[in-house]
Structure formats: C-alpha cells, structure tokens
C-alpha cells in the first residue's frame, strides 16, 4: 500500500489536469451542442501564444525580443498565463463565426468544420512557430522538486494541479452563481426562450465559444511545461478530452471533473504497474463504463439526441 499511495496521489494530480483540459470542451458541447474538434488545437495555440509572450517564437532574436527578455521571468510568465488564453479565446470566437453556419443542422456539419479548423490551426502553427519541440520556461518559484512522504515530486506539477482546482471552482462559480452563468445555462436549455427574453443569442454563443476556447488555451499554458509543445499536440489532447466528456456524460460539469479524475487515476496507477498499458487504460475505462451506462456516468438526455 505504501508504494501505491504515491501513485494514487500522482493520479489525482493528473486527473485535475485532465479536468482542466476537458472543462472548455464540455462547456461548448453542453451549451452549444457543438463537438469542437479544434479544442486540442486551441489548447496548443494558447501555449504558443504564451511562448511568444515569454519571449520565444516570433520575437526571439529581435530588438524588441532582447528588451523583453530583460523583464523578469516571473512577470512575463504571469502575463503569458493571462494573455495566452485570452488570445486563444479570440481565435475561438473567430472560429465560432464559421461554426454559426452549422447551427440547426445535423451535428456532423459542426464536427467536420471544427475538424478542418483543427488542421488549419495546426498548419498555421507549423508556419508561425516551426515544426520542432518547444518548451515554456518556468519561474524558479514554481520549478524544482518537493519531498512528500520520502518521495520526490515535481513542484510545478503540484502547482498546476492546484491551479486546475482553482480554475474548476472559478468556472463552477461563474456558471452557478452569476447572472451570466444563468443566461448561458438557460441558452443551453431553451435558446428560443432566451432569445424571446431579449438576449442576443449570437453574442451569447460567441462568448461561450470564446470562454471554452480560452479555457483550452489556459489548459495549454498550464500543461505544456509537463507535456512539451509541438504543432500536433492538439491531437494528443482532443482525444482524452473527448473521452472524458463521453465518460462523465455530455454536458455534465461534475461528470467531466469526476471522469477526469478517474482517467488520471487509471493512467497514473497503470503507469506504475503496467506502464505499457497506461494510455490504453483510459480507453478500457470508457468501454467498461459505457457498456453499462451508454450516456456516461452523469449524462442526462443529451441535446445531441433527437
């Protein structure tokens, strides 16, 4: 048991990070009935924007870049953490302008459009930032190691898990405790009624898509110091995100969070005892759950069902 505990702890932290990835995805699916296959690419895009803000990428080697590199890393990191997701959110809102044409049509149209958008974003990243692997530099305050129970853990990973926990709580509070959240939820439940009450449905959808994309970008900035940064990172991300919302139940906030923690535990524990199966374990978990409950753990009748 003493050897299992660290892996459970590691799995929990991993699960919180998976939840952060799935959060924006579940928001867009739940509210807008669009499966956004570009979610992973927006995740990567947020991280690439953060890389540029930190001083890499486009401005590297220029006079502006040299001046900017003189600013302390901690300050640049905070700005990257704030503006990387914002820029990803803006990109998401631009994407939503294209997705609009698919509203009210079969879900396949939105699926194909966002799949195409994912390819376009990935290629744009290759052109803009190159094809090689990049890494985000971290301030010393959140770097290094910490000793817990005689074992060494990554301090940054604990920071990232804590940050994910705060982000989850903030999104929940926003949806449940603010009038904006109420409008978003009402829009998901009965969009025509929301329109009849005088709310601009187009603007609402644009904001939700932007928020979901910004959350993807935020997850990107937080996760990339652990996973590394490369143009096709989006593909690595969208699959677990999709799996988590299917496992938790489409549109269920807590379903996504609990499913993410289950996936984290499965990956963390199999990584310790049957490492070759660590990535496979999440798919086996999904198969096991949907075999008995096809709507996932907390899925209500999905808006995608007709």
């Amino acid at each position: 048991m003493s050897t299992l505990l660290p892996h459970i702890f590691n799995g929990l932290t991993l699960g919180l990070l998976f939840a952060l990835i799935a959060l924006g995805f579940t928001l867009i699916v739940g509210v807008m009935e669009v499966i956004n296959l570009a979610h992973g690419s927006l995740f990567a895009l947020g991280a690439y924007f953060a890389l540029t803000i930190l001083g890499g990428g486009w401005i590297e080697g220029t006079a502006v870049g040299d001046w900017w590199m003189g600013v302390p890393l901690g300050a640049r990191y905070v700005l990257a953490l704030a503006f990387g997701p914002v820029l990803a959110g803006v990109a998401g809102m631009a994407l939503e302008l294209c997705v609009r044409r698919t509203y009210g049509k079969a879900p396949l149209y939105g699926l194909l459009l966002t799949f195409g958008a994912a390819l376009v974003i990935e290629e744009a990243i290759r052109v803009g930032w190159g094809t090689g692997e990049k890494s985000l530099p971290l301030p010393q305050a959140i770097n290094g190691a910490v000793l817990i129970g005689g074992l060494i853990f990554s301090w940054y990973k604990l920071f990232a898990a804590g940050f994910a926990l705060i982000a989850i709580a903030a999104v929940w509070l926003f949806l449940e405790r603010t009038p904006y959240g109420a409008i978003i939820k009402a829009g998901a439940h009965d969009s025509e009624m929301v329109r009849a009450l005088g709310y601009d449905l187009s603007r609402l959808r644009s904001l939700v898509f932007g928020l979901g994309s910004a959350l993807a970008g935020l997850a990107g900035v937080v996760m990339v110091p652990i996973w590394g940064l490369r143009p096709h990172l989006g593909v690595d991300v969208v699959i677990p995100a999709f799996l988590i919302i299917a496992l938790g139940g489409v549109g269920s906030f807590w379903g996504a969070v609990i499913a993410a923690i289950m996936v984290g535990l499965a990956v963390g524990i199999t990584g310790a005892y049957a490492s070759a199966w660590s990535m496979m374990s999440m798919y086996l978990l999904l198969i096991a759950v949907v075999s008995f409950r096809s709507r996932g753990l907390f899925g209500r009748k999905s808006a995608l069902e007709v």
Binding site: G132, N143, H232, G271, S275
Partner: protein, 427 residues
C-alpha cells in the same frame, strides 16, 4: 511459303522483344532504369514532424552539405544531384507511403535518411522490393543490421548493442549491479534493452525491473516514482527524441540526475542541444563530437557554419555527421563504380573502408559486408561541467574501437537477399 517466312521473322522479332523486355522488366522481379542524361534525384526520407522532427532536420542538413559539395565539383558522373524531401512523420506507415511515392512517382534513384528504426525498417522493405539502395543514416536498433537487414540497406549509426558494449561493464564496476531499464516501447527500445540485458547477465549485473514507456510519453511522473521505489543503482534508459528531452527535463527538475546513476544508450545531439547542463546528467554514448581533437574536425565545423549561418544549432552533432558521412560515401561509391546501377553501387559499399582521418574518428571504420552496418568508433561522454562555452556540452570519457564494441549477434540474424533476388535498378 511467304506466310511461313513472315511468321518465322515475326516469331524471332517477337521473341527478341520478349527476351529484351523480360531482361528489363522480367516476370519474376521488377527492374527499372532512368535516363542517364537527367539529374540524379535523391529521395530524402527524414522526419520533419513527430518524435524525431529535430533530429530529422539535422540529418537532412548533413545530407544536403555532402550533396552541395559534390554539386560544387560538377555533380556525380556528370549529372547534377537533385533532392526530393517528404516528411516521414516518425511513423512507419508514412515511411512506407513516402518510399513508394519517391520510387514510383518521383523517380528517385537512391533513398537516404531515418532516425526512427520503425520508419527505417518500413522504408527498407519498399526499397528492397524495387532494388533501390537505401541509407539508414541515424536509426540505431540492432535489428536494422540484424533480422531486418536487406541487401539494399546500409546502416551508418552505431547500434544499441555497440553502445551497450561500450558502457555496461564499466558502469557495473563504477555504479553497481542493480539495474532498472527504462525503455521506449518500440523496436529500437526493445532491441537495445535486450542487448543491455544480455551484457548484464554476462558481467554479473541484475535487471530488477523494466519500465516500458509508450512513444509520445511526455509525463514521466509514474515512471520516476517507480524508479524511486525500486531504488536501482543504475537506470539504463533507451528513450529517444522528444520523449527523451521531456524525461531529461523532469529528472533534472526532481534532482534525480545524480542518484541513481543514469546510462543513456545513445545521446543524439539535437535532443539535448540548448538544454541547461543539469539536464545532461549521466553517461551516454555518441559516434562523434564537434570538439574531438582530430584533423579535419575544425574545418568540418567551419563548413557547417558557413552553410548554415542562421540555424539555431550553431555546431554540428552526431546526427548531422551521420547524415553527411553516409551521403558522401554513397556518392563516392557511385563515382568509384562509374555507374548508378544498384548492384555495382552495393558492391562498392560492401567493400567500403574509411580511414580514421577521413571519418574524423579515433579508429578506422568499415562496412561489414554481412550486415551492412558501419563498424566505427564509439564514444562515451558526460556533461562538460564548468564550461563557459554553451555549445561545448559534452566531455568525452572514452573511445572504443569497432572491434571492442562489435555486435557479434547481428551476422547470425541478418540474412541478406542474394544479388539475384534483388531487382536490378539503374538511377
């Protein structure tokens, strides 16, 4: 009568055409020839994306420098050398498609390039089908010159067995007998781990555990916790490309670089160039280093810098070196053969011997005609602590002769196709 005479003439004419046709295209094997007055087209099959994107780019730069040098001298056999590059994406299935396209549609006469052994194996199967000579420049699974060898394929990098032979015995003596293997879960990782296991048994070491790491792993926290629990004396890592870069960063972040001891089978230069020096923990193998105190090295570095003044990698590494050396030797072999006919070029390469001076290594090198692997000097290195030069990251510890690190099992496993079973091909 006249009808018989006409029939006879017709018979001989058609028979002659049939024999000539059979010689060229034959019902039993595919034979090809491209026009000799056209430029010689080389197909560059290196990764531009995926786990080995960085190394693929370095490999490509090496090939291009050798080609540029030949073109500056007037090309090869009076023909200009042209290149076609298609990204093999560090994916074997893509490697197969790229090789098919390069041979059948792009009319490439020779294929060059690989970092991933899975991709190299896939390309070489296609190349053998058409009889096109293929240079595996940088992939180092022992199976590439063992069970997956082919008559058309030549392997230029040191392999997992060569590096393990250079490292295992000394490391048991220096660090201890309890070893844990951290293995990339694909052909190179498995073959290298198998070679390490065998040597450990031979020298009295013990494998206490093996952790398989799927390709594309970025979060090594589970593996690093397991290593802490197992408390080995040595971790023998066969993890490559961007996976290895992530591993190094995470091990350094946890301060685990000194204890346990780390032996990294082979350290490709693009995987560590630019990383902080504390990421470069442990002992690792390489085939070449840009600061070797040998004739020609400084000039080689200068030529690299003149050709690639803007590249982020300011000095060449082992991957560039292999890309350059393999391409140069292929072009020299064509020159010596006086033809681009595949069998003639293969025979030239099978008899290849290169002096230490010409290869800028400590020992003479040669192609083993039974396995088609370049037998060469293997170096062990560690981080160059205390240096002020950010490029000068390695401190070379030892140099082993090709005889000392020979992969003696390869010849038994390698069954090269006969010349008769290899389709003739003239580029």
């Amino acid at each position: 009568m006249s009808r018989n005479s006409l029939s006879r003439r017709s018979f001989f004419t058609r028979s002659g055409a049939l024999i000539a046709g059979a010689t060229l295209i034959g019902p039993w094997k595919l034979n090809r020839a491209y026009a000799a007055d056209k430029p010689l087209k080389l197909g560059i099959t290196s990764d531009a994306s995926g786990q080995y994107a960085n190394s693929g780019a370095s490999d490509r730069r090496g090939m291009m420098m050798a080609i540029e040098e030949f073109n500056a001298k007037g090309g090869i056999l009076g023909r200009k050398i042209e290149t076609v590059h298609i990204d093999t994406e560090t994916t074997p299935a893509t490697g197969t498609r790229v090789a098919e396209r390069m041979i059948t549609r792009e009319e490439c006469g020779f294929l060059i390039g690989a970092v991933s052994s899975g991709v190299a194996n896939a390309i070489s199967q296609v190349a053998q089908k058409y009889g096109v000579v293929y240079l595996n420049t940088n992939s180092s699974s022992p199976s590439e010159s063992g069970e997956n060898c082919h008559r058309v394929k030549f392997v230029w990098d040191g392999n997992g067995t060569n590096f393990a032979k250079a490292a295992v015995k000394n490391s048991i003596d220096s660090f201890g007998k309890k070893w844990l293997l951290l293995t990339n879960d694909y052909v190179w990782g498995h073959d290298t781990a198998a070679a390490t296991r065998k040597l450990l048994e031979q020298y009295g070491g013990e494998v206490i555990d093996e952790i398989l790491v799927p390709q594309g792993t970025r979060d090594f926290s589970s593996a690093l916790l397991s290593i802490q629990n197992a408390a080995p004396s040595v971790v023998a890592a066969a993890v490559g490309g961007d996976d290895q870069k992530a591993l190094r960063q995470q091990v350094a972040q946890l301060g685990m670089g000194q204890k346990p001891a780390w032996i990294n089978n082979q350290q490709d230069w693009p995987d560590v160039y630019g990383l902080p020096l504390d990421n470069l923990f442990g002992v690792f193998g390489t085939t070449w280093y840009y600061k070797l105190d040998l004739p020609g090295v400084a000039d080689f570095v200068k030529r690299y810098q003149e050709m690639y003044p803007d590249t982020a990698m300011r000095v060449p590494g082992n991957v560039f070196y292999n890309g350059y050396m393999s391409t140069r030797e292929l072009l020299r072999a064509i020159e010596r053969a006086g033809t681009t006919s595949n069998i003639a070029v293969i025979k030239q390469l099978e008899g290849l011997k290169v002096s230490a001076e010409d290869r800028m290594q400590h020992h003479d090198a040669w192609i083993d005609p039974n396995t088609h692997q370049m037998q060469q000097t293997i170096y062990l290195a560690t981080a160059n602590e205390g240096t002020q030069d950010t490029d000068d990251m390695f401190k070379i510890l030892t140099s082993s002769s090709p005889q000392d690190v020979e992969d003696t099992d390869a010849a038994g496993k390698c069954k090269l196709e006969s010349y008769d079973d290899t389709p003739t091909f003239d580029a």
